[in-house]
Amino acid sequence: MKLTGAQIFFECLKAEKVDVIFGLPGGAVIDIYDEMPKHNIRHILVRHEQGATHMADGYARATGRVGVCLVTSGPGATNTVTGIATAYMDSIPIVVFTGQVPTALIGNDAFQEADIVGISRPCTKHNFLVTDVRDLARIIREAFYLARSGRPGPVLVDLPKDVQNAKIDFKYPKKIDLKGYKPTYEAHMGQIKRAYTAIGKAKKPVIYAGGGVIASSAAKELKQFGESIKCPVTTTLMGLGGFPAPHELWLGMLGMHGTFRANMAVATTDLLIAIGARFDDRITGKLDEFAPTAKIIHIDIDPTSISKNVKVDIPIVGDCKDALKKLLRLVKENPISNLKKVRKPWLDQIQKWKETYPLAYEQTDDVIKPQYVVEKLYELSKGKAIITTEVGQNQMWAAQYYHFFEPRTLLTSGGLGTMGYGLPAAIGAQAAFPDRLVLDIAGDGSIQMCIQELTTAVENNLPVKVAILNNQYLGMVRQWQQIFYEKQYCATCLKIAPDFVKLAEAYGALGLRATKPNEVEPVIREAFASPKPVIMDFAVNPEECVYPMVPAGAAMTEMLLV
């Protein structure tokens, strides 16, 4: 039977087991939207295409499955770019379908035409322009496969209007044949053995894990491995949840706003075991002084991540889970002798660092401290919420004071640092998990960047909770101005702002406000009990800073600890 391109689109999505699309229609995708009601697929109508990409991204991070969005050509397509770049930097599997003007008009500067394949080339894992309906099914199949396999990432498929209407016999291709794409999953046993020999000799090892542990579902193996060699574990922002926070071997997050003990441990370790992390500048600081005394093992599925910034001694290309399983087998066959005794001085040293400079803030009776709000959110959600964040101080306080036990419970724009990410990402996660508490820890600056999606939450009964740590500043930039630019707060003051409580109500959500410390807990309780989307507006100490802080470009031991 002959099907149109639009029908093939839905047959392919069915074959990929897609249950929800985040999208916004327009002239170039109207044929797909016309076909949509005939298919059993949930569509969540967004209010801005950037929101659609962040929702698909939040859905993907929370579930581990591929998130899908559908937008029109031209401005619809260009509006997705920030969301695509966000997913690209954090290796999140999403497939973005964009409408395109008919093939005959491409290149003619037609109405709502944009070369989105050209525009998105540097921020997608791969992208396609479908010029012939006969290629459509194969390309969709490849798009999903590329998005989820190897090092995951966003894939864009551009669909000209005439391709959506053209008819052809439909067959979903069973096999994929991509000559230039063969990700390496199996870690090389010789390298694993070399790594284990180094581990056996190390006196002060540290595991530094990243988002790769979460992408490869290797949290269980990471915990077992850390315990089996009694090795302290730190993670990047992207790795939070990859190792249970309250564990005795837990160092906390490392990097620019990492804990004192994590950064000191990395600065003095003799063996750094990097697993699914990529030595980003927010982690390494000054490269010459990063882990200066360490031998480095690096496990990553993406060969380009290895020895990109920091020269690695033992590279292991492969899936984190596979590599960890193989390492665990070696530990079992040949455990490190006298492990407890061997490790004691190192663990004692770390305990000392932990006691000297724990994460701390001072809560007074009259002003709400943002850290206090996050601690209360943690306490009252019993650590069981799915947390999303915006970007800036709110994000760092969420990372420091909410504790993550499980993977896929912190959804945050780590690489690109996209303000406006948190609310739509929370909506995406809530669409996947309607019964879980999904909480966006936000700032008053970033929440305004995608606030329109509150309507989407209300319309679709997705009761996300937003906690605005409202300091009336673009707080992180202000913090830099405060510390490094003699308090010249140029363009960071947000005193003129909407009344977030009224704004929430205008959108049909619930708005709550706390201005005193003793109001924090009742507001959170009321928000959590509400069946609606809620905005909590916490008036926090305006000039609070995130500490510890390593100045950009400084060595990781040069922490400001105030």
């Binding site: 394949v117 050209g118 080339r121 540097p122 894992k125 791969h126 322009l129 590329l146 991509l178 000559k179 230039g180 794409y181 993406d302 060969p303 380009t304 020895s307 990109k308 020269k311």
Partner: protein
């Protein structure tokens, strides 16, 4: 250091911009680049010359391999190879210098491919050094225009 890479890619629209975009986006250099179809019409071959220390070259090769449209990267740092480029050179050839131009062309085993009363157009192939040498000599006689192809390179076969 300058290095030559051979890159086999899918012969499809947009692939060259993926490769070129990778270089510009990551601040790698391309000194010269040639592209043409291979025996398999679905595959094109790019030969490019780039510069970088060992760490950068390692990144370039890995990043190229990471592109879905790239089928294979031949790193000529690891193998012995032959490379050639071609130049078309339009040079002044007036009564006094016509014979001298022809002598130089002869020495370099070039060919005259177009003749006019006052100009010769010369075709010459060779490695970079040879092309540069003939350019230096003809320069003194008056070069009007030069077009160079950029390098193509192929690995040497095993001897014996």
């Amino acid at each position: 250091m300058r290095h030559t890479l051979g890159v086999l890619v899918e012969n499809q629209p947009g692939v060259l911009s993926r490769v070129a975009g990778l270089f510009s986006g990551r601040s790698f250099n391309i000194e010269c680049l040639t592209v043409a179809e291979t025996l398999d019409p679905e595959v094109s071959r790019i030969t490019l010359v780039t510069t970088g220390d060992e760490m950068i070259m390692e990144q370039i090769v890995k990043q190229l391999n990471k592109l879905v449209s790239v089928i294979k990267v031949i790193d000529f740092r690891e193998v012995k190879f032959v490379d050639r480029e071609m130049a078309l050179i339009k040079v002044k050839a007036e009564a006094a210098t016509r014979a001298e131009v022809l002598r130089i062309v002869d020495i370099f085993r070039g060919k005259v491919v177009d003749v006019s009363p006052t100009f010769y157009t010369i075709e010459v192939t060779g490695d970079e050094g040879k092309i540069q040498a003939i350019l230096d000599l003809l320069e003194q006689l008056g070069i009007v225009e030069v077009v160079r192809t950029g390098k193509v390179a192929i690995a040497r076969s095993k001897k014996g």
